[in-house]
Subunit: 262 residues, 2 copies
């Protein structure tokens, strides 16, 4: 009976970009381990800001780990996107029913969706035809408090597992750094046009040669009340449905009419 | 007089992901050097498949190079996206009028737009408010023939420089590997739903430990005649207008109606 029941459970693939030892991925595993058969495949080192990088020019390693009790777990030397590919082709040998990425230590709202390893792993799953969600908490601390995040994850994943999901479903979920009772609710949003105004800190190395560190100040240029940045600033969890068709259809129509390149 | 004229010319930033010594970037510089004041800022090593990766955890280096005659050129230790950021903040100290990325050795049509360092550099420029185009030739060879590509670049860039461009304009241009007279024209397209069906080649290292190389077969699941893959297969240059707002507005409406997470 137990075996049969276990087999009926949905298979949930979990990955992240902060690395397999982070508190965020552990919190995600704890939040959903009762909701399905969980398998973790995550990077062996931090991969924040890796975007949709894949490893082409060098080989990948993977090792089975004993980190989450009964939950099967693998660490890989690859990027978050590599982890999803390895999980499907070499570990699960099938597509999982759901892919969850995170919980990221730090925001992935607005333009961050493009730079984020967390969201790129989720997008890779969506491209493969696996419904997928990336979760991020607005707290960069190593020891951040994931109490409210775990409740949000449980609520959303439970709701979604009751539905027949579109195979390309992809959600970018950001959670404000607040205690559970202070969170106002879950809001469906659009991606804000908000971005980093970059600057580089210029320094001299011990040999007198210049080097540069990326720094930047976050600026929201989007005044809409339907954006993820607005929702988060007002105490809501933001949920942005995401797509991987990047075609700008408005510009496509304009260019077709213009005959510019004829 | 010469100085004044030079100042009036548009400033064109050129980058790529194959590295600053590749034939593709040299071809791009040659194609547009008469059309503006060209500045090259490109990676010092190959960065294919880097997607929208940025360098957060380590410092960056850059060095001025003498590779393109009179054209100012810098190589950096960063990703293609880092190159755009460094160019704007530390080299040009302004936004260029146009950013061109490539010419990539190999296709960046369909889903490749997401993995491609070439396109991510162009997208970064577009996010920054710099009109931008990524060019790719469907030939991975080191010594590929860029004759037709250079003509396409010249035609498109000349046409665009005559217009007032939207500051977020972003085009993904792919060029079939054909002699100029065989190219049928330039076609405005949508991104095909075509992707790699991945597989990993499993091998043993000299110490008996397993490692994995990413391999894959390209498959087009999109039967439309309005896609980039269709255009390229039929001898056209494909132009896909690209956007960085990844919100799936259709799914957004559905979720808002559903009350799924209330």
């Amino acid at each position: 009976m137990t075996t049969k029941k276990a087999k009926e459970k949905p298979v949930i693939l979990i990955t992240n970009d902060d690395d397999i030892t982070s508190k965020g991925i552990r919190s995600l595993v704890e939040a959903v381990s009762e909701l399905g058969t969980v398998v973790v495949v995550a990077p062996d080192s931090p991969q924040s800001g890796m975007g949709h990088a894949i490893t082409i020019g060098s080989p990948l390693r993977m090792n089975k780990m004993n980190l989450f009790g009964d939950v099967e777990a693998w660490q890989t030397s690859g990027t978050p996107v590599d982890c999803v590919k390895l999980a499907v082709d070499k570990i699960l040998h099938r597509k999982p029913d759901l892919c969850l990425s995170g919980i990221n230590h730090g925001a992935n709202h607005s333009i961050n969706v493009i730079y984020s390893g967390t969201m790129s792993a989720a997008m890779e799953a969506s491209i493969e035809g696996i419904p997928s969600i990336g979760f991020s908490l607005l707290d960069y601390n190593y020891d951040a408090d994931f109490t409210a995040s775990k409740q949000v994850v449980q609520k959303m994943v439970s709701a979604l597992l009751k539905k027949k999901l579109d195979k390309h479903l992809l959600l970018n979920v950001n959670i404000p750094s607040l205690p559970p009772e202070k969170i106002k609710g879950i809001k469906i949003c659009k991606q804000a046009y908000a971005k980093y105004e970059e600057d580089f800190s210029e320094r001299l190395d011990p040999h007198g040669k210049k080097y540069y560190w990326l720094t930047g100040e976050f600026k929201n240029f989007d005044k809409g009340r339907d954006t993820d940045v607005w929702a988060l600033e007002h105490g809501y969890v933001s949920v942005v449905p995401v797509q991987f068709d990047l075609t700008n259809y408005t510009l496509k129509k304009q260019l077709e009419k213009s005959n510019l390149f004829k």
